[in-house]
């Protein structure tokens, strides 16, 4: 079963929840944690595990073969992303803009644009006991997170399809990287904070997840720091609040040092266990179906 941990607003505690939950679950069962926030991956700062492998990840882009090209200009015409441009007697390819659709390459009458691998980032696989941790990291200057997220999801599907519980630490926001990260999830946990920004961005995230027709629940982090509006909204919208993690400077301090919170703070552990028991219920329900 795959659980995506997401949020509209950044900095609400996605990574704190994902890492603590993964390590807590690993005390009793096998779990995979994947950091899909490939632009700014942070989970690895909290997970102590052994590096098993490191792979460079590539996306496919066309490479111009000057000798066979007839300069017919079709490649430039078919590219909707302006990633292939004809300048005089040169064809230029802009890898950052390319979406790897293969149209220019496969439609080229002279086969002068074969696809080649182009580096976009790395993926590391770590392990510690019951916990497998996968971290993908986009190279600086690469603009598209989606292909790297998709390849990481594929790696997980290929390697951990045998009863592992999978937690996906997703990127913030509501646009394409989040859609890609949560596309395969059986359930989504939305982390928010009880503030006007938290509520506003939670609503956007709920709209997105509902459009994707996913089952989801909400975790309120820094509970007590703001107002009651998030709770009221969840009640009106009939959204299950899985846990309310109290606002506590000690949590922020542990986090700031890169430490896990649940071994130190009992109240945090109690809320985390509520989330875990809800996950077990969903898992049971999926098994029955």
């Amino acid at each position: 079963m795959k659980i995506a941990i997401a949020s509209g607003k950044g900095g609400t505690g996605k990574t704190t929840l994902a890492t603590n939950l993964a390590v807590l679950i690993a005390e009793t069962e096998r779990v995979v944690l994947a950091d899909l926030d490939v632009e700014e991956p942070n989970s690895g700062l909290f997970i102590k595990a052994k590096l098993l492998s490191e792979d460079v990840k590539y996306k496919m882009i066309p490479q111009w073969d000057e000798d066979t090209c007839t300069l017919c200009g079709l490649c430039q015409e078919v590219c909707n992303f302006h990633a292939v441009i004809q300048l005089g007697d040169q064809i230029m390819v802009f890898p950052e803009l390319c979406h790897s659709c293969y149209a220019c390459s496969e439609l080229c009458p002279a086969a002068a644009l074969p696809m080649k691998a182009y580096r976009m980032g790395t993926m590391k696989h770590y392990q510690s006991g019951n916990l497998n941790f996968i971290e993908s990291r986009l190279d600086i200057g690469q603009e598209q997170a989606v292909p790297l997220i998709a390849q990481t999801n594929d790696f997980i599907s290929d390697n951990f399809n045998d009863g592992h519980l999978v937690l996906l630490d997703s990127p913030p926001g509501t646009s394409c990287p989040v859609i890609e990260a949560t596309a395969e999830a059986d359930y989504v946990i939305l982390v928010t904070e009880p503030t006007p920004f938290g509520l506003h961005d939670l609503k956007l995230a709920v709209d997105t997840i509902r459009q994707m027709k996913k089952d989801f629940g909400v975790v309120i982090n820094r509970d007590g720091a703001g107002d009651e509006q998030v709770l009221t909204y969840c009640k009106i919208e009939n959204i299950k609040v899985l846990a309310r993690i109290p606002d506590d400077r000690n949590v922020a301090e542990l986090y700031s040092r890169g430490q896990l919170v649940y071994p130190e703070i009992a109240e945090f552990r109690r809320e985390l266990e509520k989330v875990y028991s809800h996950i077990q219920q969903i898992n049971f329900k999926i098994d029955v179906e």
Binding site: G10, E40, N80, A103, E106, I140, E143, P171, C176, F197
Partner: protein
């Protein structure tokens, strides 16, 4: 015209609260642009009037005409995004998966596939509570053109600034290092990096700063919640110094940010003491730094 872009790499560091405070301090000399179009929040503090609303169309979306379709399946075979599948006996495009490359419509032997330009969001030109102008936007759900909407917001802000002879544009940028951030940074005279002293905050600051360096943009830094972890705060200070980044201020870990937000106020309206003084001082340093560049 000069553009000041506030970014953070990591979310939740206080970027928007600080940008909104600068918007108030800059007053009528500047135009505000909220380029965090994915999860735009600045309007909650600056109270824009949404006076002008314009739909934003971008990219392409394939649509299959089932009347013309002969079920040959060539479209689904070439689609690298698995966006075409058979639903209720008809080849159908999943609009969330379609990237708008147009390959399917080119190879369809019976011209059954057309491309439409979908609505990707909406942008607004508003008057905010201090009387100045703000350009902001809302991205459509799951839309994959946030970089283009960011560029649209910036261009509209530039137009407004030119029309009204404003000297500056203040941009609230997006989190991360991907296309919306790259789009936010284009044309910036100064980048203000908002960070927090946590291992994650520092990690993300270093990554986003590499991007800023790549574009050769002058940078300044604000450490928010600086007293949360004095060790990491010190490490950030050292990094800032080493890289020649202009250190603007240290702000305290304070509940005032959340309280101000709940009141719908910027932090300088809510807290007139220490935090306001630090931000006024930072804003003066920003203006001085911009003028030095001439």
């Amino acid at each position: 015209m000069k553009e000041i872009v506030v970014i953070s790499g990591k979310g939740g560091t206080g970027k928007t609260s600080i940008s909104a405070a600068f918007a108030m301090l800059g007053g009528n000399d500047l135009v505000v642009a909220d380029c965090d179009v994915d999860a735009a929040d600045m309007h909650l503090l600056l109270k824009p009037d949404f006076n002008t609303k314009v739909d934003f169309y971008s990219g392409q979306l394939a649509v299959i005409d089932s009347e013309k379709c002969t079920d040959c399946g060539k479209c689904a075979a070439v689609c690298r995004f698995n966006a075409i599948s058979v639903i209720d006996g008809n080849f159908t495009v999943n609009p969330i998966k379609c990237e708008g490359c147009g390959y399917c419509s080119r190879i369809c032997p019976v011209e059954a596939i057309s491309n439409i330009q979908p609505k990707a969001g909406q942008w607004y030109e508003s008057k905010i509570k201090n009387g100045s102008t703000m350009v902001h936007a809302r991205l459509g759900i799951g839309a994959d053109n946030s970089g283009k909407l960011v560029a649209k917001v910036k261009n509209e802000a530039r137009r407004v600034a030119a029309e009204r002879s404003k000297e500056m544009i203040l941009v609230d940028g997006a989190p991360g290092i991907g296309c919306p951030v790259v789009s936010s940074l284009s044309g910036a005279a100064l980048v203000v990096l908002v960070t927090e002293p946590s291992v994650s905050g520092f990690h993300d600051l270093k990554r986003v700063y590499q991007l800023v360096k790549k574009f050769k943009i002058k940078a300044a830094c604000i450490i928010n919640k600086h007293d949360l972890n004095l060790d990491v705060s010190k490490q950030i200070h050292d990094f800032v110094k080493e890289e020649g980044i202009l250190q603007l201020s240290n702000l305290p870990y304070s509940p005032s940010f959340t309280r101000a937000m709940i009141q719908g106020q910027t932090i300088i309206e809510y807290d007139a003491a220490e935090i306001k003084a630090s931000l006024v001082d930072s804003w003066e340093k920003i203006l001085k730094s911009l003028n030095q560049k001439i």
